[in-house]
Symmetry: C2
């Protein structure tokens, strides 16, 4: 918890976040990974985002009568999350129907309704009448008459006659996508689990669900062990291109990471791995292909060709994943180039094709993925932002771990926040954005990205800031933390070259967004929403990111955090075959725009290197 921040706890998930006063509950929930529905665009008219405040006080706006909530609901503590903001620490109950994917999550509740909880894997408990002279159906026909008309692989059929006779013609059939995937003694219908996995280049997150009711039973995340082979996808692809043995090594690495996660969630829940009957994976194209053992080499050169586009189903156990021996591994469909399964998963979670106004989905990372949805059409592109947002290539940059400056506020002086209540040892991506935005506002960074020299500083500049401008080999640098306050004993500065790196990273995203908007004949003002997905996107401060041009110039209330949308997408396809068909449909509808060879993109990119002049309203970010 940082100074002045408020703790907001969301139930029944039990997740807490710390936010600044006046942060809207929609945003706070997003930070907690809970995506609330806001089909009206946060205007407070549809009532879909309603939550119930169990303790604490929200802003008056959230309590205004005349909206979609009744007096009685208001009296019971219900608020519109899009209008209500935190005034004190809060405990907030999130009704299942208010979340994205509510069509699915609604059935997790206690109503007992099944809705469209329809996982590809399910079980049927059966009791068969033993054969008699009047009933000489073959074993397989007898079983099918009880459990449905399933396909049966020959190796499993081999076991059926003995199984039925050894267990008194009773047991539980495991059925995966219409195919028999196992027979178990007794009634094990309730013991059916599945794992959703978001495979990131850096971080892998797995969630264990009970398939019978969608209940979450475990969650674990681990660093992707492929890190040892390179920080970003390009370095890993190069490794594979240059070394014939590297693909199996990298495949093994990610499989081990997934197995570590499985061990963790199984330990949390007391559920044995053989009760995991399906694994659903969403990752970028490179991660998905390596995981499957498909050579990603063609992603390492123009024109960036993928191996597959439609969803793949493999055998988890044949790959070496700790799960039931017959568990399928579902891998998300891919759109093209570097726009992979995690993007499709995010689009599924966000229902991206069903928005009334044009909407942009942005996942900022080493590769930024951008999808523009307008009138049912979707354009998707990826853009190489480089690792600046992860602190790489920044002179004193670092990942967002303990000791990293993660927030910079520039007023009369510089205020910072450090992760883990430690002395600062460097700065991470969010701080880089904050600092650049603050310096632009203070007039000590010009729109070309040049840090002004001390002698060029604007006359009204606060003296404390002026003192932080220092000359360095003909360029200027800006001191964020003096030497005596850092962990290293060295001052932490923003250097001219850092700003150049930030400009390159920002321009890549910005030019991608511009190009997609232009292709669709739209401008930023037409956007009903910008949805920020992914780990980094959920930590940036919108007004700062917008100030440097990383996000379009639209009001903050249209820029929304949607949390780990890829994980939610993986959960959805795990729990519902309709969602799987929807993922296929979304992929089919989306056109991939290859920016790499696009002449327009080069021009957009050059233009996007210049920071915007304008500054819109401030946002109530954390």
């Amino acid at each position: 918890m940082k100074d002045g921040e408020l703790k907001i706890t969301f139930q029944p998930a039990g997740r807490s976040v710390f936010v600044l006063p006046h942060t809207s509950l929609v945003e706070a929930a997003g930070l907690a990974g809970i995506i609330l529905q806001t089909p009206c665009g946060g205007k407070g008219t549809c009532g879909k985002c309603r939550v119930r405040v169990l303790s604490g006080r929200t802003s008056a706006a959230g309590q205004a009568a005349g909206g979609p909530l009744t007096e009685r609901q208001l009296g019971d503590g219900y608020r519109l999350a899009c209008r209500a903001s935190a005034e004190t620490p809060l405990v907030v109950e999130v009704p299942e129907e208010s979340t994205f994917g509510a069509h699915l999550q609604i059935l997790v509740g206690d109503t007992g309704e099944k809705g469209n909880l329809n996982p590809a894997v399910h079980k049927v408990h059966f009791r068969l009448p033993p054969p008699t002279s009047e009933d000489v159906r073959p074993d397989l026909a007898r079983l099918r008459d009880a459990v449905g008309d399933v396909a049966v692989p020959a190796d499993l059929l081999t076991e059926i006659p003995a199984f039925l006779r050894a267990h008194g013609w009773q047991g539980t059939a495991v059925i995966a996508s219409g195919e028999l995937a196992g027979l178990e003694p007794g009634d094990t219908v309730q013991e059916t689990y599945g794992l959703g996995v978001d495979v990131g280049t850096t971080t892998v997150v797995g969630t264990l669900f009970r398939l019978a009711d969608g209940a979450e039973r475990g969650l674990a995340s681990r660093m992707n062990s492929q890190i040892a082979f390179g920080d970003d996808v390009i370095s890993r692809i190069l490794r594979i291109r240059e070394n014939a043995g590297a693909l199996p090594e990298l495949q093994h690495a990610i499989l081990q990471t997934i197995n570590d996660i499985i061990r963790a969630v199984c330990q949390q829940s007391g559920i044995p791995p053989e009760r995991i009957y399906e694994v659903c994976v969403a990752g970028n194209s490179t991660m998905q292909q390596i995981l499957c053992g498909f050579d990603p080499s063609a992603l390492g050169e123009v024109p960036f060709v993928q191996v597959f586009d439609r969803a793949q189903t493999l055998s988890a156990s044949r790959l070496g994943i700790l799960a039931n021996a017959r568990a399928p591994l579902y891998v998300f469909p891919q759109i093209g180039g570097f726009v992979g399964g995690d993007t499709v998963a995010g689009m599924v979670a966000a229902r991206l094709d069903r928005c009334e106004r044009p909407v942009l989905l942005v996942d900022i990372g080493t590769n930024g993925e951008i999808v523009l949805s307008h009138g049912g059409d979707m354009l998707a592109a990826s853009t190489a932002a480089g690792p600046a947002f992860e602190g790489a290539r920044i002179r004193q940059g670092m990942r967002a771990t303990v000791g990293a400056i993660e927030k910079v506020i520039i007023g009369e002086d510089v205020h910072i926040n450090v992760i883990g209540n430690a002395r600062p040892s460097g700065l991470c991506g969010t701080a880089l954005i904050d600092a650049a935005a603050g310096m632009l506002r203070a007039g000590i960074l010009d729109s070309t990205g040049r840090i002004v020299l001390p002698e060029e500083a604007p006359p009204g500049l606060a003296p404390a800031l002026r003192a932080r401008l220092q000359k360095d080999d003909g360029h200027a640098r800006f001191v964020l933390v003096e030497a005596d306050e850092t962990a290293t004993g060295e001052p932490i500065c923003l250097w001219q070259r850092d700003i150049r790196e930030l400009q390159l990273a920002t321009a890549a995203i910005r030019a991608g967004i511009h190009l997609l908007l232009r292709r669709a004949g739209l401008s930023a003002a037409d956007l009903g929403a910008v949805l920020l997905a992914g780990a980094f996107g959920n930590f940036i401060r919108r007004s700062e990111a917008r100030r440097i041009g990383l996000l379009p110039q639209i009001p903050c209330d249209r820029i929304r955090f949607i949390g780990n949308a890829a994980s939610l997408g993986a959960k959805l396809v795990l729990l519902s075959q309709e969602e799987r068909r929807y993922a296929a449909e979304i992929r089919e509808k989306t056109r991939h725009v290859d920016l790499s060879g696009d002449a327009e993109f080069q021009a957009e990119f050059a233009e996007a290197m210049i920071f915007p002049e304008a500054d819109l309203d401030a946002c109530s970010d954390h």
Copy 2:
């Protein structure tokens, strides 16, 4: 060639048989394994069985004008095979359209038509445009756009990127039932073969076909190596029930037999085993289940339960069959109990559900399978005839190999024919039937199956026959060959106990036929045809078999040999997916009648032990 027999050679198959004068060409063709179409029931009205006599003379009936053949056709040598019989040795050309399965075989001809030659496995040669910035389709989508929308197993997808790049984006795709089953460099479309296998308890026959045009490229048969584990299916099932390790041993034995056949046909044709892309198997339920590795133990006790009913598709290579690594193994659907895939295959070949009048399909063996088709309904039963027809349990019985008496004619004396121009060492099943029939006619065997004692012989009995009646421990025996003419120096006789064994075997088949007819409310006179399938059925003499009651009392021209119908059925499903659907349909339509627990059957069986009194017309059998 035996005394007085005529050599008939059928082209283009090049198969020759030896028959007695006046044998109809339909029957001669059946002996050669060529099943001619006779939808009119052999009345000479439909013209479907027409053949062309290239050399030799046929009976006048075959040349009569006014039938479906034109004067010009008659002048060109065309004859109706159902009316024409052999007067001299003949060379006969069989037009493809005159054979059973003509809808398929027609395309084997030189017309170049494709008809419904539609094998489950086919190949597509492709040349893909390499990726460019304007065409960044994923490898898999690019391939699918060229070869069709096939499913691709993950392990094969693993190889695709490297294959396409190594071979200049060209090659040949193997497609099996809508799934990609291999990529091969170059254009190998013509090199696509499949194997049809008839797996009998005793004999296994394999035929190699070119799938592109249905041409036969090799044929081989081998003794089923499972013989070492027992002569009949029951002894093999018992072995499996008593010994946990026996199932894999027996499975290995039949797989080795199939591999021996594959080596033989590959050597004949110069085609490597990896160019065999599918194997289609028809066998009885026990053979099929053991081949698949499915435990047949439940066939070893009442109520005789099968493991499966619908067709199974397994991986041939995973079982260890010498074929392409991704070749599927198709195993015929089964009807119930001991009525298995060979029966379904025969029904497919005979188009059994499409007959205008009631038709009986009979396959006589250790297990007799009987199917009655009437008005689109079909009833199937199996009946345990025991091994008497194979020479077992007959005191001087033997298989139909060199030295076996295979034919007995009883006139003023006994005339015999021995296989292989050797001195006789025993008698096989056909001779047993001949001898019993002849003895019945001569009055030295009564209808209860008792061989009369010398002193009871009818007064008019020819002296040579009377001399052959000898007393043996209170019973009579009938000497077929005197001691000085045999290989062993012992006389070869028919003993009273041999007749009892024959009565049991015959009664099993006869009672089965009666029961099915009775279930359908029919009598033998209603039968439009009795089709004899299988090895043994094609060697018996119809009038003799009818005389002892093994076949119904109907005119010989309604009793037809249809050759190895199971092999033809296997060929049909190999070359056409429509035939495969038809096989599924036939199985679905057929009701299995379990004779084992049927009280009526016991009564029928007892009654069938008495030989018929009547004797109809003689047939012109070989």
